[in-house]
């Protein structure tokens, strides 16, 4: 509970700053309650974040040991190394599949298609549908389609394809937004110099939109790393490194899930949660750092 009170203290400190220069007690009761509830809301949100992050990191970091990164997984060391490699493989494959597809689709929607045409509307609708489907439904679909129907079983391929469908809407949306933020004068200038549409897109618009697209892709990486429900039915949850494309394995979050459920290695579970959270924090920071370039 230390973190919680720490968080609340910080919030109260900030609150007192604001209250002191607005003479809140002199206000009508209604205003005071609204004001107080607003600060209460933000206080709870801040406390939740600080508590979750603080608890996981403070309890997890002391348990990080070299044996946790041993190449071979054994029941004693509960190494997360195979899971880490599995995560990287899924990450690489899914990005290779989804990034070009997502960027090309976004290019079509923004640069080629007539805005408001029926095709664009259908693509928008399906993209929004994809974005709303819960990961367990993706897992179920991947299991039925890639695993059983295509006969890929529990494998890297099944996992990567499933995850790539999942992240497609995210990549499309962020790319679309970055492309739209490129001013039309760039395009007009390029056309005016005699460049074709393809050349304009590839040489002028895409380079200008790159930081935004990159920030989106990094955000997507965070999503893939955190994915569990879709992974355990497509990639499987076996504690070893996949040797080839049709081999099973596990990812870091699936590893975390297994550890938490078994409950026999609390220290390793704490440490794995901390590692997972650290990776996600790093990725988030990287993404917003890159996104800052877009604005400046």
């Amino acid at each position: 509970m230390e973190n919680l009170s720490l968080g609340l203290e910080a919030v109260e400190e900030i609150a007192s700053l604001k209250i002191s220069n607005r003479k809140i007690m002199g206000r009508k009761p209604m205003d005071f309650f609204l004001f107080a509830f607003t600060w209460l809301g933000i206080g709870i949100t801040a406390a939740v974040l600080l508590f979750v992050v603080g608890y996981v990191l403070i309890n997890g970091l002391p348990h990080i040991r070299p044996s946790l990164f041993a190449v071979q997984f054994t029941t004693e060391n509960q190494s997360l190394f195979p899971a880490l490699m599995g995560t990287l493989m899924i990450l690489g494959l899914a990005l290779v599949l989804a990034v070009p597809l997502g960027i090309f689709s976004a290019i079509f929607l923004v640069e080629y298609a007539t805005r408001g045409s029926r095709f664009v509307k259908i693509v928008r609708l399906t993209t929004e549908t994809l974005a709303g489907i819960p990961s367990i439904v993706y897992g179920l679909f991947g299991f039925i389609f890639f695993g059983v129907f295509l006969g890929w079983g529990l494998s890297l391929m099944s996992g990567a394809f499933t995850v790539s469908i999942m992240i497609l809407p995210l990549i499309m949306r962020t790319t679309e937004e970055s492309l739209k933020s490129v001013p039309d004068t760039y395009r007009e200038g390029s056309f005016g110099l005699g460049a074709g549409r393809l050349r304009t897109v590839m040489r002028i618009v895409l380079p200008a939109a790159t930081p935004g697209i990159l920030a989106g892709i990094i955000l997507t990486i965070g999503r893939i790393i955190g994915e569990t429900a879709a992974i355990i039915f497509t990639l499987g949850n076996v504690a070893r490194m996949p040797n080839h494309l049709f081999d099973t394995g596990r990812t870091l979050s699936a590893h975390m899930y297994a550890l938490a459920n078994e409950g026999t290695h609390p220290g390793e579970a704490h440490a794995t949660a901390a590692v997972l959270l650290l990776v996600v924090i790093l990725i988030n920071a990287l993404s917003s750092w890159i996104a800052k370039f877009v604005k400046s």
């Binding site: 209604m30 090309f104 709303g132 039925i144 569990t228 899930y257 996600v280």
Partner: protein, 307 residues
């Protein structure tokens, strides 16, 4: 390469000319981009077709009435009983609880971020909310297991794995969804509305809560609907703290465990076969239909907000 003026459609399109153009880079690229754009459509189509092909016959065999309103889930009995009403009710309770805990906090936070927040707090808060959205659900689930479950056990009774615990955890998890969408809805309201209210003598709080917030109603509603979608679809975190008994619960039994549609699939799909697996896929179909309905509602609200 002779290039035609850009941004214009081919003037007199004819098949011969199209053939004579042969391989044209511009044209090929356009086709490539258009084909890629079809990927999303293809994916949704495949998901629908395969889920329904595998799930609907199972619902037919069990009987849609028995399946949706059966209160017994006994996949290992002979003959097995596949009633998912306990799971539907469980999803409902836990989602309602998450809304109860998450929505007020989320909306107040959104109002704060849009209208009350000093600049130096905002630059910390915005990334913090993004981070809250980025934390993987297993980490939330693990946090729930080691912190919230003992907390509920010690302060409210029961064994801790309960509807209440899952609601609390999900309430935290839907916060970023509600905050982000509500905040942008509030920011989209023209400043004149706020200014007008203040000019008429309203205080800052009054103008914000009684003029700006009602004007942003459809956007805020959309955020709640999306939050409901997240809560209904959340799997791992719920499965780790909710107890998962496939038993009908009454609302006052919130300290007992319950199973949701999502955790039903994630718990049993690993070892199920035959009719059992088909019944689980059918559970997924029911979940999928729920989500499609929620998405349609979200789309409607968002469109109304945009106008």
């Amino acid at each position: 390469m002779g290039q035609r003026p850009l941004g214009k459609a081919e003037p007199n399109w004819s098949f011969e000319r199209w053939l004579l153009r042969g391989f044209n880079r511009e044209f090929a690229a356009k086709i490539l981009f258009a084909t890629s754009a079809c990927a999303a459509i293809l994916a949704v189509g495949l998901i629908c077709v395969f889920l329904f092909i595998q799930g609907l016959p199972a619902i037919g065999n069990i009987g849609i009435f028995n399946f949706l309103t059966g209160t017994e889930w006994r996949p290992t009995w002979t003959p097995p009983l596949f009633g998912i009403l306990p799971m539907i009710v469980g999803s409902l309770y836990i989602t309602a609880g998450a809304i109860f805990f998450g929505v007020p906090v989320g909306i107040f936070t959104a109002v704060f971020m849009a209208k009350f927040c000093p600049r130096f707090v905002y630059v910390v808060l915005k990334p913090a909310v993004n981070l809250l959205a980025g934390i993987p659900s297993v980490v939330y689930g693990y946090f729930g297991m080691v912190v919230l479950v003992p907390f509920v056990r010690n302060h409210f009774g029961g064994n801790g794995n309960s509807i209440l615990t899952a609601s609390l955890l999900l309430g935290m998890m839907i916060l970023p969804t509600i905050i982000t969408i509500s905040e942008s809805a509030i920011r989209a309201i023209p400043q004149e509305m706020y200014g007008g209210a203040v000019a008429l003598g309203a205080s800052h709080e009054r103008a914000t809560f009684f003029v700006v917030l009602p004007a942003a109603k459809s956007g805020v509603m959309a955020s709640i609907v999306l939050g409901i979608g997240r809560a209904v679809g959340e799997t791992m975190a719920v499965r780790m703290v909710a107890g998962n008994q496939a038993v009908m619960r009454m609302p006052h039994e919130f300290l007992l465990g319950a199973r949701t549609l999502t955790s039903n699939v994630v718990i049993e799909l690993g070892y199920a076969y035959g009719d059992h697996r088909a019944a689980l896929i059918a559970t997924g179909v029911v979940l999928f239909v729920f989500i499609l309905l929620i998405n349609a509602l979200f789309g409607m609200l968002k469109k109304r907000g945009d106008n």
